[in-house]
């Protein structure tokens, strides 16, 4: 396994770029007009997880974006998925 320093040497620039991309995406949404969308709320609600001291942030973010209902649907409203529960 790599040390923390070796991992940072390998992946810090990539992680930095992804974080700036996300910040720029939020800026972009800020500049454009239109109604609020529940997907943006899910995105913002997930951001504090990144600041938590834990080793399972990816799992927690995925759970944040998951449908936690337990009932079967009677029919499929559409075939795809939107990335966050939007019903």
């Amino acid at each position: 396994m790599l040390s923390k320093k070796e991992l940072l040497d390998m992946q810090f620039i990539d992680a930095r770029a992804r974080l700036i991309d996300l910040a720029a995406f939020l800026d972009r949404l800020e500049r454009h007009e239109g109604a609020d969308d529940v997907r943006l709320r899910y995105l913002k609600d997930a951001l504090p997880i990144l600041q938590e001291n834990r080793a399972d942030r990816a799992k927690a973010v995925l759970e944040k974006f998951s449908d936690h209902s337990v009932e079967l649907s009677e029919t499929a409203p559409f075939q795809g998925a939107s990335g966050a529960p939007i019903s």
């Binding site: 399972d56 990816a58 795809g80 939107s82």
Partner: protein, 257 residues
């Protein structure tokens, strides 16, 4: 690899790919009749093996109606009635990729009928878990459903497309777990390696998505390279990219390298 060009077979051969298995899946659009599936099953069992063989790659496949088209049970059963004609062909490993898409009542019913076909023929099962927000719920529904099959050998079932929030559910229940590598959705190579580091390398494999959307048939070789860069041993890399798939797939009488 019905959705890919022959160039992709060449790239895989150059990367050292010995064999691949192709699930029966969505065509990017809904077929208009069961006859469309008849032709598709012929493509999977007759044409694709020949295309792969030109590059020294053995081609295996799974049969089913995929969950995306399984919400109409009448239509699904018409397609499932075709399976016995193809199930004994020499490159057919088992039933898959069955599962759930939008977690509907009909999808679950058809899923269970597929599992029964696999039990009737004593073949392995490849299970698709839903996309994105539907994955966690769908994985739990699938596990609950499978638990009701008392004769099911869990070591002959692989539940695919696991991510960080579903992998423990699958492994702890005694099933194999598959990590499907995608550039955007499901697992990236880096995250798949994280999962291996956290959950170990038993009963788990990784596969390249080769579908109609953004996907990369070379994802597994790229992940192997990433594992090397992260100083994982050649033995571990071989285990998750070759030995584990071979171990699971060898449970099908037709899988021979």
């Amino acid at each position: 690899m019905v959705s890919r060009t022959t160039d992709d077979y060449e790239k895989l051969a150059l990367a050292g790919c010995e064999a691949l298995c192709e699930p029966a899946f969505w065509a990017g659009f809904d077929r208009s009749s069961a006859a469309g599936f008849y032709d598709y099953f012929r493509q999977l069992t007759e044409y694709e093996p020949k295309r792969a063989a030109r590059y020294g790659i053995k081609h295996f496949c799974w049969l089913c109606i995929n969950p995306k088209e399984a919400d109409d049970p009448g239509f699904a059963r018409e397609v499932m009635a075709l399976i016995p004609e193809f199930i004994n062909r020499e490159n057919v490993l088992g039933i898959g990729e069955i599962g759930l898409n939008k977690n509907t009542r009909s999808e679950l019913k058809i899923f269970e009928e597929h599992v029964q076909i696999a039990l009737d023929y004593d073949l392995p099962v490849l299970i698709h878990t839903p996309h994105l927000e539907d994955k966690l719920k769908g994985t739990k529904l699938i596990l609950d459903s499978l638990a009701s099959f008392s004769k099911l050998d869990r070591s002959k079932v692989i539940i695919d497309h696991v991510e960080e929030h579903t992998v423990a559910h699958v492994l702890n229940a005694g099933y194999w777990a598959g990590m499907t590598l995608y550039p955007e959705s499901k697992c990236t190579p880096s995250r798949a390696i994280d999962i291996l580091e956290v959950y170990g390398s038993e009963n788990i494999w990784m596969n390249s998505a080769c579908d109609w959307g953004v996907s990369d048939p070379m994802a597994v070789p790229k992940c192997a390279l990433e594992m090397k860069r992260r100083k994982h041993s050649p033995e571990l890399i071989r285990k998750v990219t070759f030995d584990n798939p071979e171990k699971f797939l060898s449970q099908s009488p037709r899988f021979k390298l």
